[in-house]
């Protein structure tokens, strides 16, 4: 799978040109086309008692967005890339879905969800909504740490956390096409404590050996595709261990397959990929299941 065209969804506060710039290494893997999308939430221009529909506010917000997009587009056009832009008054998820339908991008880039915990519990986060409704990878971008510095090249040292699911397999298939882009890939699997059949040392070592062999085979496949890959087995709570590994190996990004749980179960119990995408400091590349 190639990433030739990406959809860059921005509200400008959380995702700016520096974030886009850090993705331009994907040009070595045939990225040629960027589509910008700015969605002005309806409540910003909605009918208010006494003032009616805020047409002037809509025009002002659209023009502000247009000026930013023109500036960004000029940079990309000068590199010989193709650029498109949408500025719409709408609701975020429905507009993203509409543009995906029209433009058929290979990757969606979006900032972290701004909904609070309670709001997410009842209405789900934007990220969860998107991962359930699109069949292409989603990069949840964020400024790392408090100083809001964007990593210069987020594909320089990514961490792939595989659960051996079909969505993890989709991630592997895509990453194999990024040999000129990825610096060093760390590949990990977390054995959860419930999967350790007994606390006997011998049994635990057997599980570790089995998982390590699977990871070795996967890393061999990456190396055949021209990607330097290092395997790691962790044991414990998957969410905590993935974040621990990301810190230990100074990951520039975490790559995960999305949960295949049903929607109700996921809403109340959460999912590892959603929790990491929503809460961690790392940019997260989420792959939906190919099934």
């Amino acid at each position: 799978m190639e990433i030739k065209k990406l959809l860059f969804v921005t509200k400008f506060e959380e995702l700016c040109y520096d974030a886009l710039n850090s993705l331009l290494s994907l040009r070595q893997a045939n990225l040629d086309h960027v589509v910008f999308l700015n969605v002005i939430e309806r409540d910003k221009v909605a009918m208010k008692r006494g003032s009616g529909y805020l047409k002037e506010e809509e025009v002002k917000l659209k023009e502000t967005a247009n000026i930013r997009f023109i500036d960004w587009a000029e940079n990309l056009f000068e590199l010989g890339m193709e650029v498109g832009a949408y500025i719409e008054v709408s609701s975020l998820i429905s507009e993203i879905l509409r543009v995906i339908e029209k433009e058929k991008p290979d990757l969606v880039v979006i900032g972290r969800s701004h909904k609070g915990t309670l709001e997410q519990l009842y209405s789900r986060s934007d990220i969860t909504d998107l991962t359930r409704r699109v069949k292409i990878p989603i990069l949840v971008f964020k400024h790392m740490l408090e100083d809001k510095v964007v990593p210069e090249e987020i594909f320089r040292r990514p961490l792939l956390a595989t659960s051996w699911s079909s969505s993890s397999e989709a991630a592997v298939n895509c990453l194999k096409g990024l040999s000129g882009v990825i610096g060093q890939l760390h590949v990990m699997h977390v054995v959860s404590e419930k999967d350790l059949k007994s606390s006997d040392t011998h049994e635990v070592q057997k599980v570790r050996k089995y998982e390590r062999k699977r990871l070795d085979d996967l890393c061999d496949a990456f190396e055949e595709a021209g990607i330097d890959a290092r395997p790691h087995v962790y044991v414990g709570d998957p969410e905590k261990e993935i974040l621990k590994a990301a810190k230990e190996y100074q990951a520039s990004m975490v790559i995960l397959g999305t949960s295949e749980r049903n929607a109700m179960l996921e809403r109340w119990m959460g999912s590892i990929s959603r929790n990491i995408a929503d809460k961690s400091v790392y940019p997260c590349l989420l792959f939906p299941s190919e099934k």
Partner: protein, 129 residues
């Protein structure tokens, strides 16, 4: 007989402005919302002139301009670029694309938005009378 002018622009306000200017000056306006629709209308309606934006969804004016200038049947169709993208960036983009796809002539008329109606009319008259 009135001449047909195709306006390719995704911004409804800009389309409306250009259509009004065209109608008031005796031209027949045609409209397209993006690069893909623009090419379809050029092939179907055979306009006498195209007024072309650059930054649009579904195919930019940069690629459409290149397509027109490298197509044997369309290369003589007059084009006025009418856009917020600076000429400097437009020329640099063409230069970057030339490395792979060959050279195309520079646009004769490049108008940076916004323009007064008189300036637009002068540009149109220069190309098609």
């Amino acid at each position: 007989m009135s001449k047909k002018v195709l306006v390719v622009d995704d911004d409804p306000d800009v389309r409306s402005f250009v259509v009004t200017v065209l109608e008031e000056n005796g031209y027949i306006p045609l409209v397209a919302h993006d690069g893909v629709e623009g090419l379809e209308k050029i092939q179907a309606d055979q306009p006498d002139l195209v007024i072309l934006d650059v930054l649009m969804p579904r195919g930019s004016g940069i690629r459409l301009y290149r397509h027109l200038k490298t197509d044997e049947a369309l290369k003589d169709l007059p084009v006025i670029m009418f856009t917020g993208i600076a000429l400097r960036s437009f020329l640099k983009s063409q230069k970057a694309l030339e490395e792979f796809n060959g050279e195309v002539p520079k646009p004769d008329i490049y108008l940076e938005k916004p323009v007064e109606p008189e300036e637009l009319v002068r540009a149109i008259e220069t190309k098609i009378g």
